[in-house]
């Protein structure tokens, strides 16, 4: 087994595809959430009072004794407030816009550490012990005539050999992966946001103001 082959077996393509797929899915969900926010802002109205007129008129108060037989007359002020009629504005018209996010940079980092070790040891021990055991049996003659054994010689040898083989193979693989993405707030896409066209007919000639 070669380490180079193991490195080639790492599914880099699948990992990058999975990462890209996850980022694309996340981006789609973020955009969907921003669009939902846009709908909420466009559907939430509040009473907007564009102008409040305050009229200040003098309103002298009762004289105050400051001692020594002297009095001071404080200058009071009467404030009359005239709010203009409220107009219904949506939060979007008022100036709240949904926040959009975008993945601007993604890094995938894979670290793999492979190591293999092969230990082969061989030892042999030959121990030859020679034992000769010879047995001579006499026979034949009249005995063999009556079915007895014939004469024979038996010799036996014995010896032993010790052989020890050991092969140790170790293989370790360690891996770690790191995914780092940068998510940045971006301005709303132009096509998502309505344009506000304000026609002010209070002045002559009417003015038209267009804002994004």
């Amino acid at each position: 087994m070669s380490i180079g082959k193991d490195l080639l077996d790492v599914p880099f393509g699948d990992m990058i595809f999975s990462m890209a797929n996850a980022i694309a899915n996340s981006q789609r969900k973020l955009d969907a959430a921003s669009l939902r926010t846009l709908r909420t802002l466009a559907g939430t109205k509040f009473d907007f009072i564009p102008e409040v007129t305050e009229v200040l008129t003098p309103k002298p108060l009762d004289p105050v004794d400051i001692g020594g037989g002297q009095t001071v007359t404080p200058t009071g002020v009467d404030i009359k407030v005239f709010p203009s009629p409220p107009i219904k504005l949506t939060l979007l018209q008022a100036g709240l816009v949904p926040q959009f996010y975008q993945f601007t940079e993604s890094i995938i980092e894979v670290k793999i550490s492979l190591s293999s070790k092969l230990d082969i040891s061989h030892s042999s021990e030959v121990d030859i012990g020679l034992e000769v055991d010879t047995k001579v049996e006499a026979g034949g003659g009249l005995l063999s005539f009556f079915g007895g054994p014939s004469g024979s010689v038996t010799t036996s040898f014995s010896s032993h050999v010790n052989i020890k083989n050991s092969i140790t193979y170790s293989y370790t693989a360690e891996g770690s992966s790191l995914l780092r993405t940068t998510l940045k707030p971006v301005p709303p896409p132009v096509r998502f946001m309505p344009r506000f066209i304000t026609v002010n007919a209070l002045v002559s000639p009417p003015t038209i103001n267009t804002s994004e």
Partner: protein, 100 residues
């Protein structure tokens, strides 16, 4: 720590009780109520705690928003946000006015 502004919509629609409960919950998690609308409160809260609010059973949706300075009432919104925020930072305990 990054504080972000969110609009909260309420599950089952707006009721004064549910709005108040959500506001209390937001304050309990370290957030601030910038404005209360008929959809739900507009809050400022740390990003890391926004998920807690989103998981509240009374909350339907939590959407991040930002202020467009060229909006018709951007200045007014800024003033309302600042007023309500100052009440909470000073510990005045004042509740933001509904529909403001």
């Amino acid at each position: 720590m990054a504080v972000q502004v969110y609009i909260v919509t309420l599950r089952g629609g707006y009721t004064p009780e549910s709005s108040r409960d959500v506001q209390r919950f937001v304050r309990g998690t370290g957030g601030y109520i910038l404005m209360v609308t008929r959809s739900g409160p507009i809050i400022a809260i740390d990003d890391s705690r926004a998920a807690l609010v989103a998981r509240n059973p009374l909350v339907d949706f939590l959407g991040p928003v930002t202020l467009n300075p060229s909006g018709v009432a951007a200045d007014t919104l800024t003033r309302i946000f600042a007023e309500n925020l100052s009440k909470q930072i000073d510990g005045g305990g004042g509740s933001p006015d509904p529909n403001r």
